[in-house]
Symmetry: C2
Subunit: 325 residues, 2 copies
């Protein structure tokens, strides 16, 4: 399959690395809104101006769109879906319906297939929730994130006056995850599920108590959590917090039996050294499915829920039955 990558940040480089290991994928071009002269791809794939993307119509089977969910994807995905089959990682949950509808309309008009909102959450975690709730309809779901770096929360800290750089880790509360793993079905507040660890580099001479207070009181981001703030030097940040790890667990505790007399726990867990590389790898697997489904005539918008697992693998159905059933 012939792949295009639209956008060229961390996630795009993750997709590019995944393509370099895939037996059935060729990277045709990377599209950037920057001056392509100044951008060098890791793999040596051509870097092209985003303005020229329509020249590639018919030469790319699936475009993997690597933009941000806030402002990029709501425009990019529907627009590109008119000319290409596409995959994106849109993750603003409250706006999924609108994004799905806009993308579905444009993809249908163009006769293309568009899969939105894949990655690991939304993505693999969504599927885990669906499988678990389908086989255990009476039960409770829990999603824990971390320990891992939240880019959004790190950015929020960086916007505070006097902050040079910051890294925020989301951490599941051990007592909560242990209780759920043991089969309990507690009602947990936001604060009881996760805590937030912040490592902050401040400008010299700043009022650290003021910065700490501004972080801890920030609505939506930190106010509802137990938050710790640790001031460190730029050297420490670079040395100890250079990675982008993440992960988490989807856990469902449910019952079976006529009188719900037996209980069961289903858990899907990820531990990721590199969030963007793993996400990129998931996007490529879904690009494979989109390529196949589009060639079978499917058009419009879909999500991970619509994709049969077999379509994610380069192996044939017969090989899959042999090796994995």
């Amino acid at each position: 399959m012939r792949i295009g990558i639209f956008g060229y940040g961390n996630l795009a480089r993750g997709v590019e690395a995944a393509i370099s290991h895939a037996p059935d994928a060729e990277l045709v071009a990377i599209f950037t809104r920057r001056d392509p002269e100044g951008v060098k791809s890791i793999s040596g794939a051509p870097v092209v101006s985003a303005k020229d993307v329509l020249d590639y119509k018919g030469r790319i089977d699936v475009m993997i769109i690597c933009g941000g969910s806030a402002t990029d994807l709501p425009v990019m995905t529907p627009t590109l879906a008119e000319s290409f089959s596409v995959v994106d990682s849109f993750d603003t949950h409250a706006k999924v319906d609108e994004h799905f509808k806009n993308t579905d309309q444009k993809a249908s008009t163009g006769g293309n297939l568009a899969l939105i909102s894949t990655g690991w959450d939304p993505g693999l975690f969504s599927i885990a929730r669906l499988y678990a709730s389908s086989v255990l309809p009476s039960g409770e779901d829990y999603t824990f994130w971390g320990r891992g770096v939240s880019q959004g929360h790190s950015d929020a800290i960086r916007r505070i006056e006097g902050v040079l750089d910051a890294r925020q880790y989301t951490v599941p509360v051990p007592e909560a995850i242990d209780a759920v793993r043991a089969g309990e079905t507690p009602t947990l507040t936001t604060r009881e599920k996760h805590r937030r660890e912040c490592y902050v580099v401040a400008k010299e001479g700043e009022d650290l108590a003021r910065i700490e207070r501004e972080i801890k009181e920030m609505p939506n981001y930190f106010a509802d959590y137990d938050t710790t703030v640790t001031f460190i030097s730029m050297e420490e940040l670079k040395r100890d917090h250079g990675g982008i790890p993440h992960g988490g667990s989807v856990i469902r505790n449910g019952t079976t039996g006529v009188k719900n007399e037996h209980s069961h726990t289903v858990e899907f867990r990820l531990r990721l050294d590199s969030n963007p590389e793993f996400t990129g790898s998931v996007l490529l697997a879904y690009a494979r499915a989109v390529d196949r489904m589009a060639k079978r005539g499917r058009v419009g918008a879909i999500t991970v829920f619509d994709v049969a697992p077999a379509d994610l693998s380069p192996l044939s159905l017969e090989e899959l039955r042999h090796r994995m059933l």
Copy 2:
């Protein structure tokens, strides 16, 4: 959907219990090879002689076949697939190809859809292996079973002269599962992955040392494992070993990055109080998918790999996107 259950043992009762909680399933009849007069269903559903099953053609959307993999399913599934869309839990891995082929032929002839080999392994564990290997193509897979009761191994002990009853637990070796969970990719022998715990009730006056030796030396079943044998009374067996728990983990450790510089762990884990009830619940979810796919015109044999997750849920695609994406 109108469901039939063919066979009426532990697994069938698990399916029956699952149907009692499903908003969209009706149990039309249970088919038994025994005298139906002597069989009473838990739910009050009619119990019918297996000989009369063809009278129900057109009155059942999906037949869930609850027979043994050794001799029942190789005959039952292809035969029934000629007249009904069916689901089975065939788990003899070495004969999956043959079973798939036979079932595919008969189902295609009859214009029906037949999903073979679902449950949790094969079934949910197979899907976990497929998702994990598709998103982490460079890596190693591990499947650990237990702690749980193996019916096959318990039966093997019961066939030994002087044994009244027995229960065998398959137990993952803690050092092995801990190492894999920590991201290591060891090469493990059979003995290094699992051990076997046997609880045995012997006839009075039997040579216990002889029974223990016969268990531990039994080829395929026990000889390749560290096996412990504990003799207990019938009361103890009934009191402490009456349940049918099981579970296990599929774990994949894989790498991403151009130079495979980042590592990741994906784990899918089950802890089941009742193996037959959970398996029955999985069979019902796949019956739902078979019903939908058959109504969309799909015929022949398929496996869990061919089923899009959305088809397992009673919820609409829109509700799924709202609640689970």
